[in-house]
Symmetry: C2
Subunit: 224 residues, 2 copies
């Protein structure tokens, strides 16, 4: 019996969690004026050192990450002020069909409630993570939709590419509307393997004091 229990545990090494974090690797896509992700070896066993020791250099807005109010609001709080409950708890994954941006008309039928954690799965998930090139025409949250979410008063919003705002438009406006309303932002989720529905969200950013953002690891588990 003990062996069977051990085997059962060994076969489920995910604990039922889906990893929706973008893998960090050299050459990966990044916002054009941001620092690229780069890992180098400070020490290397094959150079005669006792250990392999890597150093990384990266924008805090590469891969899966969170934005803090300080990203767009002068004097705004850093990422260390994130309440853990903002990114730990039930979340709804909504499937967005608009190929350009998230718009209020597509959100309204979902009857979004105050305090909700909302993750937006767009065509970005299957399209943008397949390439290391930065995809400029990713689906973003229009400033109208950002104002709608701010008015509803959701707690947290997540999107499946590098920014809630667009590359060509609604960059600053969308961030201002969301961060200004106290909404916490998760960017860079890969929701390819995730279907619309209700999940338990677990997203933990690094605790970087005073930072406008931080890389994060994010997981989802289906709530039956």
């Amino acid at each position: 019996m003990a062996n069977e229990t051990t085997k059962a545990n060994e076969t489920d090494i995910t604990g039922g969690w889906l990893d929706v974090s973008a893998p960090l690797h050299n050459g990966m896509a990044h916002w054009p004026d941001n620092q690229a992700f780069e890992r180098t070896h400070t020490l290397a066993i094959d150079r005669g050192d006792a250990a392999n020791v890597s150093a990384i250099t990266t924008s805090v807005h590469n891969g899966t990450h969170m934005d803090a109010p300080a990203h767009f609001i002068p004097g705004g709080n850093g990422i260390e002020t994130l309440p853990l409950t903002a990114t730990m708890g039930p979340a709804r994954v909504l499937e967005i069909h608009d190929p350009e941006s998230v718009k209020p008309d597509e959100l309204k039928p979902y009857n979004i409630q105050r305090g909700e954690r909302i993750l937006l799965k767009t065509r970005n998930s299957p399209r943008c993570w397949e390439t290391d090139e930065f995809v400029k025409d990713f689906v973003y949250i229009s400033h109208e939709a950002a104002h709608y979410l701010a008015e509803v008063g959701i707690q947290t919003v997540g999107i499946d590419y590098l920014s809630v705002g667009g590359y060509f438009k609604d960059g600053a406006e969308t961030h201002h509307a969301l961060l200004g309303a106290g909404i916490w932002i998760i960017e860079g989720l890969n929701l390819t393997q995730v279907q619309a529905g209700t999940y338990e969200l677990l997203c933990l950013p690094l605790k970087i004091i005073g930072s406008d953002g931080a890389p994060a690891r994010a997981l989802l588990r289906k709530i039956e």
Copy 2:
């Protein structure tokens, strides 16, 4: 009633979790031959940019972090191969009184079982995190204790300063014994606010492909 519920939620912004992650900030202690943690502003609102955008440079072994087999084992797995269950689930925090190192004789009375997640709270927690200077004489896991834990076959071990191995001795030996036995290592925990006992552990490292380690966020919640 809705208001009362909202208030109740707002008062517990930790969800009952204790954050045992070391805050990342410029000037913090680091292993002498490792890259220091440094955050700089790539873009800054007070320089006329639209946003604040930070970049970080850091050893993957600064602050709270995990070690992968690749840290000491040539050809060993990178941190992206961590099974999520290794750092998500019940863990025992043991209080270690030896001021020099963790030794088998202090561990044996705890009757440690195969598959356990063991976190070692030493005098490092109240002593080492109070300063930004690197503390060389921190309490480490002696190579004898590492071999004992390997023989028992625990799943995960955590320690409350930057390395499971000592600065003056048992650096490579302790890492080899633990990583060679397939034990996952969490280093740089700050257990100052944590008492010995059983907790739910949640430790999520960044998913850095092929890396010998990765910075992590780590939380504990008491199991009653």
